[in-house]
């Protein structure tokens, strides 16, 4: 596979694109489930950048970071989905614009 000829910046472009799309999703969606999904996309984009950079140097550190991101994503999803259930129960909606009890 040594002949793989992908410039690193292409991979990073992909990662940036995915990140932007995920971020756009977080911004435009009101449903918390979609927001969570968008966050997954963003995390994944970051992970891609890490792995790509790690591959570039031929070092395992990028994948180590990937494992870390993975565990963060897992923990976040576990808690986040728990919260989704609570929000649905409390507010009878998943619309985050309605769940604004923290306003000052």
């Amino acid at each position: 596979m040594n002949e793989l000829a992908v410039p690193l910046n292409h991979l990073l472009f992909l990662s940036g694109l995915l990140f932007s799309i995920g971020m756009l999703g977080v911004m435009i969606r009101r449903n918390i489930i979609f927001i969570l999904m968008s966050i997954e996309v963003m995390l994944n984009a970051c992970a891609l950048a890490f792995v790509g950079a790690g591959a570039h140097w031929g070092q395992p550190d990028g994948q180590v970071m990937y494992v870390m991101i993975l565990s963060i994503a897992a923990a976040e999803v576990a808690v986040g989905l728990g919260l989704v259930l609570q929000i649905q129960r409390r507010f009878k909606t998943l619309d985050m614009d309605q769940a604004n009890r923290m306003r000052g």
Binding site: M1, N2, E3, L4, A5, V6, P7, L8, N9, H10, L11, L12, F13, L14, G16, L17, L18, F19, S20, I21, G22, M23, L24, G25, M27, I28, R29, N31, I33, F34, L36, M37, E40, V41, N44, V51, G52, A55, W57, G58, Q59, P60, G62, Q63, Y66, V67, M68, S71, A74, A75, E76, V77, A78, V79, G82, V84, L85, Q86, Q88, R89
Partner: protein
């Protein structure tokens, strides 16, 4: 060369699947596209010489985490009216502003990334190397990750349990 081609194809699939996932009104459909996107990225991982990461991507991301989403969506039982509502929420007037911001950010990113030189691959980084690294210099990070997972577990349990008790 083959790998290069596979990379670009997978990248296109990942992008397309992600965009579709982000724009669906039905949560399950969105989720399926998201899984596709994740699988495409797994392929990229494999191509760039990170088979361990690719395996994890498939097993944990696409396998475990997305299944969690599926369960929750099933529990919420959103139904048809949810679809309609989502559609209403996706008016252009709503997404134009954020989209502009995203584009600006993307342009900035591209500017920053554009200066990066070099190729991706220097060869396969095997699971063994990752393991040595994880339990060598990064052992503290592993501990931290384990704490984080524990906290996530406790939190999820706490939130879920209260829900169940109240229901009962």
């Amino acid at each position: 060369m083959l790998e290069t081609t596979i990379f670009y194809i997978s990248a296109a699939v990942a992008l397309a699947a992600t965009i579709l996932a982000m724009t669906r009104t039905n949560a399950i459909h969105a989720l399926i596209y998201l899984i596709v996107s994740l699988l495409a990225i797994a392929v990229i991982f494999f191509v760039v010489g990170a088979p361990f990461a690719a395996a994890l991507e498939v097993v944990i991301y696409a396998g475990a985490i997305m299944v969690l989403f599926v369960f929750v969506i099933m529990m919420l039982n959103l139904g048809e009216e949810g679809d309609a509502r989502e559609r209403k929420w996706l008016e252009p007037s709503i997404w134009i502003g954020p989209a502009t911001l995203s584009v600006v950010l993307l342009i900035e990113l591209i500017f920053l990334i554009g200066s990066v030189e070099g190729q991706v691959s220097q060869g396969v980084v095997s699971a063994k190397m990752v393991g040595i690294s994880l339990f060598g210099p990064y052992v503290l990070a592993v501990e931290l990750a384990s704490m984080l997972l524990l906290a996530g577990m406790v939190g999820a349990f706490h939130l879920g349990r209260r829900l169940l008790e109240k229901r009962a």
